[in-house]
């Protein structure tokens, strides 16, 4: 086997403590990857790729000031893909015994004897592989024990109850902290891994008035506990979001402008990233089929993928095939620049991998110059959407129809809460009719965008 560079991002020694100690060392995980590669090659595989991952976590939930659930998580898995020429097999297991390793390798090899040769199957071109990478600052273990987590969760929930007397019930507040390590290796000599952490705080509350009950929530999530919002802020936000929904009404059926709050605007950009993914393209299952070079958004729109952003939730130094990730434009001046491809999709489409095995990372919409209030003013009269339910997105045609709740807006000001309506249109058309993106960027996920204003959609109600 090769002796190519093996890198693990160094851990901050000052942060090492009892909390979140991983129970498998990086050496033992790396050795397991190596043994898997050797076992597959010994059975005749022409190429093999293996991933070993392990994580530990704590999730604590309180409800009405008492611990409701305390969950200790500890996960591990081994997965591999083998190639026998152009035939492929895959297998995985959570069992880390030596026998399970052999059984899993043999299962993958057995499958590859039956699958049919696919001319596009295979490993990525080694020229695209990551050979060294920067520390993306993703590993920040949080020494949060059960006592501290309980106090924190209770403080969040108490802040919610204290905000408004109409908060009469709770689905609870929770604290979650998880630390993971993963190693990827392949028969071309790639071997790499890194640790990462993810911590979150959340709260869901219930308010009641004469008309009935409403529920809403707030949350904060980050790689580093210091980046989490304050407990009091999360509780208050959950309460305010819940109470403001009381007394929701339907609208009459109409056509009007729609402003998507940032956490909902994210779902529109999510449909965009799915539409430009490799499988959607080669399966002809995209409303943006063969759209590179086409004007998909208004000319002011810029969307980038930023996988190399330090500490961001979607960051990764290399993709699921060991291909280096890089920051790049997806939309420039409204025009689609590139699809998001792994090596298989790239070969199918006659293109080069874009380092997107595992998906697009930190998809970032460049904000405009208006904040949320200015966008409300720009809309004037219309529907502010703060919740969407149901699937209702046809990726082949772009037809869009989802359940929505939010607020009716007149003269740039919220008039009353709205519920039990749908909003409908076609995504291709909705993208073209985007009027503005706000500066109120939500970075809590893999898609970073501010509020998005769409000129016109159909709202169905009474």
């Amino acid at each position: 086997m090769s002796t190519s560079p093996e890198r693990v991002i160094p851990q901050d020694p000052s942060r090492q403590g009892e909390a979140q100690a991983l129970s498998h060392s990086q050496e033992s995980l790396q050795a397991r990857v190596q043994r898997t590669l050797e076992a597959a090659q010994a059975r005749g595989a022409s190429d093999v790729q293996a991933v070993v991952s392990h994580s530990v976590g704590l999730e604590l939930g309180v409800r009405k000031g008492e611990i409701e659930t305390l969950e200790h998580e500890r996960d591990q898995s081994l997965s591999l893909i083998v190639y026998f020429g152009q035939s492929k097999g895959a297998a995985s297991t959570t069992d880390f015994s030596d026998q399970a390793l052999i059984d899993t390798v043999e299962a993958a090899c057995r499958i590859a004897r039956y699958t049919e040769p696919d001319p596009y199957a295979g490993m990525p071109d080694p020229a695209f592989k990551a050979t060294g990478w920067d520390d993306l600052d993703l590993d920040h273990p949080w020494a949060c024990d059960v006592t501290e987590a309980t106090e924190l969760a209770c403080a969040i929930e108490a802040a919610g109850f204290a905000t408004d007397a109409r908060i009469e019930n709770s689905e609870g507040a929770s604290v979650s902290s998880r630390r993971a390590i993963a190693f990827l290796g392949d028969s071309q000599g790639f071997m790499g891994g890194y640790r990462s952490t993810r911590h979150s705080l959340s709260c869901a509350l219930v308010a009641r008035d004469a008309a009935g009950m409403q529920r809403d929530y707030a949350y904060s999530v980050a790689r580093h506990a210091d980046d989490l919002d304050a407990a009091s802020h999360i509780g208050r936000e959950a309460a305010e979001r819940t109470v403001r929904r009381l007394g929701g009404r339907k609208l009459s059926t109409r056509t009007c402008p729609v402003l998507f709050a940032p956490e909902m605007a994210r779902t529109l950009i999510g449909s965009f990233t799915r539409a430009i993914s490799g499988p959607a393209q080669y399966r002809e299952s995209s409303f943006l089929l063969n759209a590179v070079g086409e004007t998909v958004f208004p000319a002011w729109m810029q969307i980038e993928e930023r996988p190399q952003t330090p500490r961001a939730l979607g960051s990764a130094p290399f993709d699921g095939e060991g291909v280096r990730t890089r920051n790049r434009a997806l939309i420039a001046d409204g025009v689609l620049q590139s699809y998001t491809l792994d090596s298989y999709a790239a070969r199918r489409l006659g293109l080069e991998t874009t380092g997107n095995a595992g998906g697009a990372r930190n998809v970032t919409v460049t904000p405009g110059d208006k904040d949320f209030d200015a966008l409300l003013a720009e809309m004037g009269t219309g529907f502010l959407v703060t919740e969407l339910i149901g699937q209702g997105v046809n990726m082949v045609t772009g037809d869009y129809s989802r359940g929505a709740a939010g607020f009716w807006v007149e003269h740039g000001e919220l008039q009353y809460p709205v519920e039990e309506v749908t909003i409908a249109g076609n995504l291709k058309d909705m993208f073209q009719r985007m009027a503005a993106v706000g500066t109120d960027v939500d970075r809590r996920g893999n898609i970073h965008t501010g509020s998005i204003l769409i000129e016109s959609m159909t709202v169905a109600g009474d």
Partner: protein
């Protein structure tokens, strides 16, 4: 009394006999503990998929582990291990028990629970029910049937999946229950193209049996033709209407309406906590007279059926709504205890690594007496929806949606033309009061449903007869 496969798969490799299990129970439970369990699971699953006319990839996965849950009052402590061995289990037990005040460890005797009725499915491993080449041939037949159905078919993607799951539940009372569960699924999606317009159609089925099911009664090719039919209908679809109108729902899978509109709202956890729009409403009229809805985990071979739930309790038929009146909730052990009632055998979990909750099994409405033709003929202006994607509900406000993937305009009692998919939205506690006609054609779905709750997916079934609902909001783009 222990099922021999469960014994061989879960206990023997770790040398676990009555004495070890008794020690495990004593360490986990005891004085001051109200319930909980040690949930042992072994699951092997495979998936084969076809694209571009060839079976180019397949995967095989094994999961094995034990989850240890300790319940005291309204509190739950939980830990799990991928390693079924005494040291790891005792460590998980002590961690899970940390929610309770330290108590004396003792020993609790183990007693096997005998099945209360004949099994609903055979324990045979479905992964072995066809040879590998036969699985590939089956997918190729589906591909060929879809392509033969119409020249406008440009893409066919189909997949065959099987799971064999061995479960052993050892509860805080020392009762030991086992279940061996097969589950298979065949799915097909096609893309059709005509004059630059592309549309898709999907179909499939499955249940708790082997792969031979798909070879019987022309089912595999039937799914292919059905997917093509739906896609071709959509090629002709016009803009869907927007607004409130009469809606006729077809039989079978449209029963996802019941799952969203009332099913989730009747799960015990939400009602114990008072967060459901149905909380405290047992005995009230929540649906039109003539409507009876049940959750039934005892149907032979169905996707949502179980011999015993994941707490080891036998599943049952639970009447949720009887002649329009709300009768009861679906319960697991903890929520039943806290609400002073009994488990209805609805405690389910995705795996040993997740906590059980009250979940649906097969949820359906009993048939009525109206002829489906007569129901359509009675509608002057409305929508007829026969196929759906998924749905979602906000159980607190009661608002729910489900998305039609095949629907038609009905005018003057006649089905006139297909319309594009649209989301339907309503309010759970009152939508069923607007049901004005109930068809005599009750049907269950073909075995395709997966329900998600708090991130856990479990297989479920739904069903209903043709229904006329006098007023639902249809989310199309064409305002009247």
């Amino acid at each position: 009394m222990i099922d021999s496969l469960a014994q061989q798969t879960l206990l023997d490799p770790a040398g676990l006999g009555d004495s070890e299990l008794s020690t495990l129970l004593g360490t986990t439970f005891g004085h001051g503990i109200d319930g909980g369990d040690c949930y042992f699971q072994f699951a092997s699953q495979e998936g084969w998929s076809l694209e571009d006319g060839i079976v180019k990839s397949a995967s095989f996965n094994i999961e094995r582990g034990v989850g240890i849950r300790v319940v005291r009052g309204e509190q739950t402590g939980f830990a799990y291990s991928d390693d079924i061995a005494m040291p790891a289990m005792l460590e998980a037990a002590r961690t899970a028990r940390s929610i309770a005040a330290a108590g004396q460890s003792g020993r609790i005797a183990v007693a096997s629970r005998a099945p209360s009725r004949p099994a609903l499915y055979a324990p045979d491993n479905p992964l072995d029910s066809l040879g590998e080449q036969a699985k590939i041939d089956l997918l190729k037949e589906v591909d060929a049937a879809a392509r033969a159905a119409d020249p406008r078919v440009t893409q066919v993607m189909c997949s065959l999946a099987g799971v064999h799951e061995v479960v052993l539940v050892l509860n805080a009372r020392g009762e030991l229950t086992t279940d061996v569960r097969p589950l298979v699924r065949l799915n097909v999606q096609v893309i059709v193209e005509q004059g630059g317009r592309r549309e898709s159609g999907t179909s499939g089925g499955g249940g708790r049996f082997g792969y031979q099911y798909f070879r019987e009664a022309d089912r595999a090719a039937g799914y292919a033709r059905e997917a093509v039919r739906q896609a071709l209908v959509n090629l002709e679809a016009r803009e869907a209407p927007a607004g409130t109108m009469k809606v006729v729902l077809g039989p079978g899978w449209p029963g996802v309406l019941l799952h969203e509109a009332i099913g989730h709202g009747l799960e015990g956890d939400f009602n114990r906590k008072g967060t459901s729009a149905f909380s405290g409403r047992v005995g009230e009229q929540v649906a039109a007279k003539g409507i009876t809805i049940v959750d039934d985990g005892t149907l032979e071979g169905r996707r949502g059926s179980l011999n015993v739930d994941d707490e080891g309790n036998p599943t049952q038929q639970t009447v949720l709504i009887e002649d329009g009146v709300l009768r009861g909730y679906m319960q697991d052990e903890m929520n039943a205890r806290l609400m002073g009632t009994r488990s209805t055998g609805n405690g389910r979990r995705e795996s040993y690594a997740r906590l059980p909750m009250p979940r649906m099994t097969n949820t359906y409405m009993l048939g009525g007496d109206a002829d489906p033709e007569e129901i359509l003929a009675s509608v002057d202006d409305g929508l007829y929806a026969v196929n759906f994607g998924g749905g979602q509900v906000d159980i607190t406000s009661g608002k729910f949606v489900f998305s039609a993937s095949e629907a038609y305009r009905v005018e003057k009692g006649k089905v006139t033309y297909p319309v594009k998919g649209a989301t339907l939205i309503g309010n759970g506690p009152d939508v069923l009061t607007r049901v004005s006609m109930i068809g005599n054609d009750m049907r269950l779905d073909s075995g395709i449903g997966t329900c998600g709750k708090e991130g856990q997916g479990v297989p479920v079934g739904v069903g209903q007869p043709t229904l006329r609902i006098d007023g639902m909001t249809v989310g199309g783009t064409q305002a009247a």
